[in-house]
């Protein structure tokens, strides 16, 4: 599961798509000033200035190394947090490890 196939072509230019595929930061994208509605762990959130998965983790004060992230059922590899853009209405799951048997 590389997590990128389903996101391609949604509001991206071909240059952005290519950058995304190569796993490099998308040039020219600035944090949006508007708000974005996301569903995170079942909670509806309205967040400011979120562009990528990394931004989301940062705004939630979560350490990227300690969690795993799924966007619209696709697991996002850690090395793609910075290049995976989030979109209005995305459903995000963020999990970590807890005690269990």
């Amino acid at each position: 599961m590389n997590g990128c196939g389903a996101c391609l072509g949604r509001g991206r230019s071909s240059a952005e798509a290519a950058a995304f595929l190569l796993g490099v930061p998308i040039p020219g994208r600035r944090p949006s000033t508007g708000t974005m509605k996301l569903k995170v762990n079942g909670e509806s959130l309205e967040l400011n200035g979120i562009v990528t998965v990394r931004d989301l983790l940062h705004s939630l004060k979560l350490q990227p190394g300690r969690v795993a992230v799924e966007v619209n059922l696709e697991v996002i590899p850690k090395d793609r947090y910075e290049t995976t853009a989030l979109h209005e209405g995305d459903e995000v799951e963020i999990v970590s490890f807890v005690g269990g048997g």
Binding site: N41, V75, V95, S96, G99, G101
Partner: protein
């Protein structure tokens, strides 16, 4: 590690990885992370299970279980506890692999809230898919030899039949089925769930099981640390007894002391 009284080559081998301890312990229900860490240490276990759960996004706590259980020291075995469908279990495993980089998973697909018995149809389906995706799959299953065989057939690297319902502490309800499963599959048989006290673990090992997985029996004991150590001894004792080979059972007595030279006898 702790099994110094067993032959050096006696290992629990899962997918080519060798473990000296045949005891796998869970990390749920402890009073604190520190108590959990100390119990794991005293159990001698080398594999510990963990659960995968949503982080609390409104209040991300600073302390983390893995601050106490070093993944470099222990093999972390994420579970899919709480999943009721193959799809959810598969998603959970994919997240666990990305989150921790671990390919070995304890696959659970629960079929019923009250008994926590597995939904074996969904279990086999999930196991087949996860094996295709490169996971080392250790499925929690019921004590059904046919299902155990199906799980092996789809590529599971061990089968983990229950002794009794999770957290029940009833011990092995059907030892004969565990024996049949052990006879019918080639992958390790790890009895998972239902152990209540040390003797249950010993009996499990005496039957020839390759390992035992437990959580509540230790975490729920009045003194979890002492019980952890009791379980370490119990698993080693059971394994030793299995390797040593028990005597056959007989209906009548056979004297242990010489039958000749007894005083007051005329013969």
């Amino acid at each position: 590690m702790m099994a110094e009284d067993l032959p050096a080559n006696d290992c629990l081998e899962i997918a080519g990885r060798k473990f000296r301890s045949r005891l796998i312990v869970g990390t749920g229900k402890y009073a604190s992370f520190a108590q959990n860490r100390d119990a794991v240490e005293r159990s001698g276990a080398e594999i510990v299970t963990v659960a995968v759960r949503r982080v609390n996004i409104l209040d991300p706590t600073k302390e983390n279980l893995l601050d106490y259980l070093d993944p470099k020291k222990y093999t972390i075995l994420p579970n899919t506890a709480g999943c009721y469908t193959a799809e959810d279990a598969i998603r959970t495993c994919r997240l666990a692999r990305e989150g921790g980089g671990w390919e070995m998973v304890k696959l659970e697909v629960i079929g019923d809230e009250k008994t926590l018995f597995p939904d074996t149809e969904q279990l086999v389906k999930a196991a087949a898919q996860l094996v295709k995706e490169g996971f080392i799959v250790l499925p929690y299953t019921n004590d059904d030899p046919i299902v155990a065989r199906k799980l092996e057939d789809v590529g599971c690297q061990a089968v983990m039949p229950l002794a009794a319902p999770i957290g029940s502490g009833l011990g092995i309800r059907n030892p004969y089925n565990i024996l049949i499963i052990k006879e019918q599959v080639r992958v390790p048989v790890i009895v998972d769930a239902g152990v209540g006290t040390a003797s249950d673990a010993t009996i499990t090992m005496e039957l020839g099981a390759d390992g035992v997985l437990m959580n509540t029996a230790i975490a729920g004991a009045k003194d979890p640390l002492m019980m952890a150590e009791a379980m370490r001894h119990a698993v080693i004792a059971g394994r030793q007894a299995y390797l040593a080979g028990r005597i056959p059972m007989k209906l009548y007595a056979t004297a242990s002391s010489p039958l000749t030279g007894i005083i007051g006898r005329s013969f």
